[in-house]
């Protein structure tokens, strides 16, 4: 916004129009660029009607909402819904499952695309590299319903192919689909299968910006493969890794609805119920709107604190952060 300087009367030729614009009054500017505001308007309405109004709808978390009385007619109850939510035994079970799945994701699923990118970065045969890339991106684009369907067809006990193979080899079948103890691993496994390949795009994009001459120079100086990776490749993607980590930490409570909902069943529900599925069941299925809105609000607030907090920590360590 250099044009805001006091000296903006001076018209520079290369940037003439911009400087002139800066000197206009807001009304003149609005009239001249009326079309820009017209283009903006539909989107602005969208954000107000479909993002901000529901945000306002969060008042029901502090009420005893009944569809008959409406949002404004329902009685205020202060923090009662929150107190009720925190005092249910469900709360601790949900927290355990949500954090358990998220931390397992952080541990196994978060590093996976980084490792795969480092591998791909070592490949000099461009045709091979492109083929591998094309194939590993594919699962990202299929729906969770399909992923769940493939999982069932591969792993179910009666005729899933994996279990048939295990039977043939004499190991015996393993029922991972209907056991509590295997649920977290199952979810993280699906995540890794579906998203690892696609996750490399952002790291490979960062790596594409690395000057190849740096590798050449280091090699001439006698640096081996590991030293190149340690001193050139990893520093090049450090910013991206930290950015993805912030997003990941911010999403610790967002395990997602679809995937868990699709893999959950009566037999593994003890380890499978997370905040998102619980909010759906209590709110939309059972109609306890205020209670589940309070649960959702707790989740959103903690999520926001986590994002802003991790962003702050990243900045303390001298990284640029995202906000």
């Amino acid at each position: 916004m250099a044009g805001r300087k006091k000296k903006s009367n001076v018209i520079t030729l290369s940037d003439g129009s911009t400087i002139t614009l800066k000197r206009m009054s807001n009304l003149q500017y609005f009239k001249q660029h009326i079309w820009l505001y017209a283009l903006l308007l539909p989107g602005l309405l969208y954000f107000i009607l479909f993002k901000y109004v529901p945000m306002g709808g969060l008042v029901i978390a502090f009420k005893d909402y009944s569809p008959f009385l409406g949002i404004w007619g329902s009685k205020w109850v202060g923090f009662d819904q929150f107190a009720k939510f925190f005092s249910t035994p469900d709360f601790w079970r949900l927290l355990r499952n949500t954090l358990g799945i998220s931390l397992l994701q952080l541990l196994l699923y978060f590093p996976a695309p980084i490792v795969l990118s480092l591998f791909l970065n070592e490949v000099r045969h461009s045709g091979y590299k492109r083929t591998v890339q094309t194939l590993v991106y594919v699962p990202h684009f299929v729906s969770w319903v399909i992923v769940a369907s493939l999982t069932y067809q591969l792993f179910n006990v009666s005729d899933g192919i994996i279990n048939q193979l295990l039977n043939i080899t004499g190991i015996g079948s393993v029922d991972i689909l209907s056991k509590s103890s295997t649920f977290w691993g199952l979810i993280v496994g699906q995540d890794i299968w579906r998203e690892t390949g696609y996750g490399t795009i952002i790291f490979l994009a960062a790596l594409a910006g690395v000057d190849q001459e740096m590798y050449e120079a280091a090699r001439v100086d006698g640096a081996g493969r590991w030293r190149l990776m340690w001193h050139i490749t990893l520093p090049a993607i450090r910013g991206t890794i930290i950015m993805m980590l912030i997003l990941r930490v911010g999403g610790l409570l967002n395990t997602g609805y679809e995937q868990i909902f699709l893999m959950r069943n009566d037999l593994n529900i003890e380890m499978a119920d997370v905040f998102d599925t619980y909010i759906y069941t209590r709110g939309i299925k059972q109609g306890q709107y205020s209670f589940s809105a309070a649960a959702g609000m707790f989740k959103s607030v903690v999520g926001m604190i986590l994002v802003l907090g991790s962003n702050k920590v990243a900045k303390l360590f001298g990284e640029s952060g995202i906000y």
């Binding site: 945000m55 000099r124 994009a205």
Partner: protein, 301 residues
């Protein structure tokens, strides 16, 4: 690694280096294989007879080719209707999303646009915090969207993430063309439609794919908002055919015995293929765009 470096210099490589190369190529090959094998298995199974499916553990090419599974799937009214619904939803939804996202991103891509920072901050707030499922459900229902496709399309019109990618793409376009058009008396709208949009094919292709895939794959919103079975998209139909009838466990099997036999294995596979193929047909044409450049814009965001 540098056996064929561009400068033609040959850097001596040790035996250890070559071994590491072999390991890397092999591991990558196995990873790529593990992403496609489940699909190949399902495609093969969908063309096979049930007899072969039960007798053999694994095959990629069936001995006896059969189209029965597809005939059955196509003749099940649910599947065809679901496909039709999904196509309508995806085309309509993607088109509206693109119109809203492109036109919203354009003013915001102009550094001189007054009000830019206010609006951008407003968008970023929605990325950090939201009303959540229940308030949204109540509000959208109050808008009268329940049991209509609008409940799936309208809340998704602008993804902040996609919008920012588009905005960054616009910012990277050469400014001179726009300036020239503006000098020639073109309005902002004219410049946007005649100059900017034709230059934006890569970003339009990529973001359309992202939105389109989102609509095609949507399961959860349809489940929450659609009540009339005639309106169900393919993903809901697919789930009811495959997951509800899978023999998950002995307990579940009792349930199926009471509720009739589950569809044949091959039919489930055929339905999976039918629901996957449209995405896989579009993907190769768009892949070159989103790997190049477009995502880089997201990083810079």
């Amino acid at each position: 690694m540098a056996a064929k470096s561009k400068s033609g210099k040959k850097v001596q490589r040790s035996l250890g280096d070559k071994i590491v190369d072999v390991i890397i190529y092999t591991v990558l090959g196995l990873i790529a294989l593990s992403t496609v094998l489940p699909f190949l298995y399902v495609v093969a199974g969908s063309f096979a007879t049930d007899k072969e499916l039960t007798e053999k553990a694994f095959f990629i090419i069936p001995e006896v080719w059969s189209l029965n599974a597809y005939k059955y799937a196509i003749n099940t009214a649910n599947i065809l209707n679901g496909l039709k619904n999904s196509v309508i939803l995806t085309v309509m939804g993607t088109f509206l999303c693109m119109v809203f996202s492109l036109s919203f991103a354009y003013p915001l891509s102009k550094k001189h646009f007054r009000g830019r920072n206010v609006v951008l901050n407003m968008v970023i707030v929605t990325m950090l915090f939201g009303g959540g499922m229940i308030p949204s459900y109540i509000v959208y229902t109050a808008y009268g969207l329940y049991d209509t496709y609008w409940a799936l399309v309208l809340p998704a019109l602008i993804s902040p993430f996609n919008m920012i990618i588009i905005k960054n793409f616009f910012q990277e376009l050469p400014q001179e063309l726009e300036d020239a058009a503006y000098m020639d008396g073109c309005t902002d709208l004219g410049t946007f439609v005649k100059i900017v949009l034709p230059l934006s094919k890569p970003v339009i292709a990529s973001i359309s794919l992202f939105y389109g895939v989102g609509f095609w794959n949507d399961y959860f919103s349809s489940m929450i908002y659609l009540k009339t079975p005639d309106k169900y998209p393919i993903q809901i139909q697919l789930r009811s055919i495959i997951l509800l009838s899978s023999k998950v466990s002995e307990v579940a099997m009792d349930y199926y015995d009471m509720n009739g036999a589950p569809p044949d294995k091959a039919v489930k596979m055929a339905c999976t293929v039918i629901a996957t193929v449209p995405i896989l047909c579009v993907y190769p044409f768009v892949q070159k765009y989103f790997t190049k450049g477009v995502m880089v814009g997201a990083v810079k965001g």
